[in-house]
Symmetry: C2
Subunit: 185 residues, 2 copies
């Protein structure tokens, strides 16, 4: 099972893909970051995030996508951009009929380190060990994306095939739906 | 100048387009709502919103798109979905090189009614009068989308051509940018 993790953000959107299954060694597929400039218009930034994620989906061809669940208690100044970047990741995956899972930061921390309150350094250290890397992936957003993907491999297991079938069916429904508008052009 | 307004939401995303220029009568182009089911997966809902907005952009062919600016002080339970629907509207417009403007609810209220604290009914009444409609557009999300579009026509004016040129240039930059990732497939 190949999973792509997304740690959403407008300035740095962490992306990481791993291959594995519960109870077997994991391997790194790809890790990196899509960046957009803080001085750009919101529209250009969202187009940049979408283009980056689309390129990754083309290259990595994951079986599922795991995105960090964003809460409104997050950093208030950046939470809207983070939510929008997360929405675009979910949209890109769903458009392809890929199953999408949202995991909270504490679910990911607990899965990777055994503690829901682990810090960034601990997450980075465990990701490095679990993927048998020679050094910690940087920046932290990239390591967090790998942690999300690993969390999903371990939580996924048997539920995966069912979720995939449901996602495909829902994607078909959503694309075929009429929009019920009253146009008077 | 033809402007499409978007009152973002996952359950009901209001859309409304008007034609006009500052100091001249306005006319209605289209008004309606894109709906998605609260029981659907987030991915399917976002795909539905995108498909609806794309269809509208194809039909309406606006010169600019005005989207309500979402704040984290909004209804906490729904704010993430609202932010994500807004992000998709901005993305769809920016992908086409259309200029996008974000207006706050109080800017819209002040532009349409003269008061930044006007209620929904007052907004609906003014939209109905300004567009010389026989009845108030329903639901309120549809009327709010028209109010956004009217606000933008009135605020737009001379800034429009400049914004359009900037948006086109930024759209080209964003689409051509490489994502700076380190892939190890």
């Amino acid at each position: 099972m190949r999973v792509m993790g997304v740690d959403p953000g407008l300035t740095r959107c962490g992306l990481g893909a791993v291959e594995g299954r519960p109870g077997a060694p994991l391997s790194l597929v790809a890790v990196g970051v899509v960046r957009t400039g803080a001085d750009e218009e919101l529209g250009a930034r969202l187009v940049g995030i979408e283009a980056g994620i689309e390129q990754w989906l083309d290259d990595v061809r994951p079986d599922a996508v795991a995105v960090e669940r964003v809460f409104s208690q997050h950093n208030v100044r950046t939470v809207m951009g983070t939510a929008q970047a997360a929405g675009i990741a979910v949209l890109c995956a769903a458009r392809r009929g890929l199953p999408v899972a949202l995991h909270t930061p504490s679910e990911v921390k607990a899965a990777i380190t055994g503690s829901g309150t682990a810090d960034k350094k601990q997450i980075g250290a465990m990701v490095t060990r679990l993927l048998r890397l020679s050094e910690m992936p940087k920046p932290a957003d990239a390591a967090d994306a790998l942690a999300l993907a690993i969390c999903h491999v371990w939580r996924g297991g048997a539920q995966h095939k069912l979720a995939q079938a449901v996602a495909r069916a829902q994607s078909r429904t959503a694309q075929g739906r009429t929009t019920g508008k009253g146009v008077a052009l």
